[in-house]
């Protein structure tokens, strides 16, 4: 062999050993993000259909103009795109509307996790004076006045009438069907190397290594449903304000780790909507959050990412979005 060619081959081989191709680097982390082979145990289709109608029905609110879908709008990845939710009488609430995507696998629910089950959660906003402002008895009376609902409740809950338990059960059944369709990232996990750009693959490696986002945003939903004070500069004590967790410093100013599915369609970010873009939220974590107090999680540390690493992280996050596939139902009158 020509000595010069041999020398070149040697250099190429050393370079390859020093820096494996980004595809193989990224592939090391893929398995833990595999979507579940089986979905959740399906609820009866009739119950899901009733829950879908209830979810989209503004008659569940005192004003008659606010439905669950007002804040959890399928056209906005089951959120509302606002920094903070707007409730009864158009009053701005204290926290951003979380998405309902993949909620069937999650819990506890709400930013502070005060509801253990989807059924409990479903009744929470309906009866909250700040949100839909309906007393439980009033909402049941209103639904009972609609023949189509009387029939649907009878079919689903024979002999029970229109009850709060049935209402919560039907809405939860529908919410369990709200699942992210496969995104480019999922196609890549399945083996389609071309589904992600090299930038996104580099970003995925950063996500799992230097930035350590995967410590909390883990698994196919990109959340482990944990609670942390990540250093948002506001007075909201989050989970720490719940009576059950009095005296637990780690839960002061702690909020639920949100899913990252459809992240680039759900800005602004954080429980108070204070970070406007994906770039801004990456910057937020890069400096280790903005608040300095004892409750800030030790898992939130200054990262010192390079400009390229930040761009790559954003490129990766954008691959977690999938097209909306919601069907809006006709409501009984």
């Amino acid at each position: 062999m020509n000595p010069r060619v041999s020398f070149l081959c040697c250099c190429v081989s050393i370079a390859a050993a020093a820096a494996p191709p980004v595809e193989s680097q990224a592939r090391e982390f893929a398995a833990q993000y595999q979507r579940p082979a089986k979905g959740l145990a399906p609820d009866a289709p009739e119950r899901v259909a009733l829950g879908r109608q209830l979810f989209f029905d503004p008659r569940l609110s005192a004003s008659g103009i606010v439905s669950c879908a007002t804040c959890h709008n399928p056209a906005l990845s089951w959120g509302d795109g606002l920094p903070r939710a707007v409730g009864h009488s158009m009053k701005t609430l204290g926290r951003r509307s979380p998405t309902v995507l993949n909620a069937g696998w999650g819990g506890p629910f709400m930013w502070d996790g005060r509801f253990e089950t989807l059924e409990e959660q479903a009744m929470g906003p309906i009866t909250s004076p700040a949100e839909m402002n309906m007393a439980a008895g009033d909402v049941l009376a209103r639904l009972s006045a609609v023949e189509g609902y009387r029939q649907a409740f009878e079919k689903n809950f024979p002999g029970e009438g229109v009850t709060a338990k049935g209402l919560a059960s039907a809405i939860a059944a529908f919410e369990r069907t709200i699942v992210s369709p496969p995104a480019p990232f999922d196609r890549w996990v399945q083996g389609d190397a071309a589904a992600l750009s090299d930038a996104a693959k580099r970003g995925f490696v950063v996500f799992n290594t230097k930035a350590a986002c995967s410590k909390c945003h883990s698994g196919w939903r990109f959340t482990d449903d944990s609670f942390h004070d990540i250093g948002v500069k506001d007075a909201d004590r989050g989970r720490g304000a719940l009576k059950d967790f009095e005296g637990i410093e780690a839960l002061d100013h702690a909020f639920k780790t949100p899913t990252l599915r459809d992240a680039d369609r759900r800005a602004p970010f954080l429980h108070d909507g204070s970070e406007a873009t994906l770039e801004a939220i990456v910057d937020f974590y890069d400096v280790g959050g903005r608040a300095r107090r004892p409750s800030v999680s030790s898992d939130v540390q200054k990262l010192s990412l390079t400009a390229q690493e930040k761009k790559d992280l954003v490129a990766f996050l954008k691959t977690l979005s999938s097209p909306a596939d919601a069907v809006v139902p006709a409501l009984p009158r």
Partner: protein
């Protein structure tokens, strides 16, 4: 007297060696234990993230445990207690305490 106390402590330690519960992959292992009243349970954080073991029933809070940390607590009264991680609510451990 001193010897007697030490011997007693030794006997009690031998009789009730600490039960060890690990925290790995955001789960307690084992997830269900039975101990004798007065026996200590040592919680070891074998994970890559911090945990905060507490129990409302048993009225203790071990506070933040960074990876590698070990903390012990004794369960003195018979009964069944739920132990959780405050940070990761899916982490639950059932501790059954029986009379020695």
């Amino acid at each position: 007297m001193k010897t007697f106390v030490l011997a007693g402590l030794l006997a009690s330690t031998l009789a009730f060696a600490d039960e060890v519960v690990t925290q790995k992959d955001k789960a307690f292992a084992p997830g269900d234990i039975t101990v004798k009243a007065g026996q200590r349970v040592t919680f070891v954080n074998d994970d890559t993230v911090a945990h905060n073991v507490f129990s409302k029933d048993a009225k203790f809070n071990l506070k933040i445990q960074p990876p590698g940390d070990k903390q012990s607590v004794s369960f003195d009264a018979p009964g069944t207690y739920e132990v959780r991680c405050a940070i990761h609510p899916k982490m639950t451990l059932k501790v059954k305490v029986v009379a020695p």
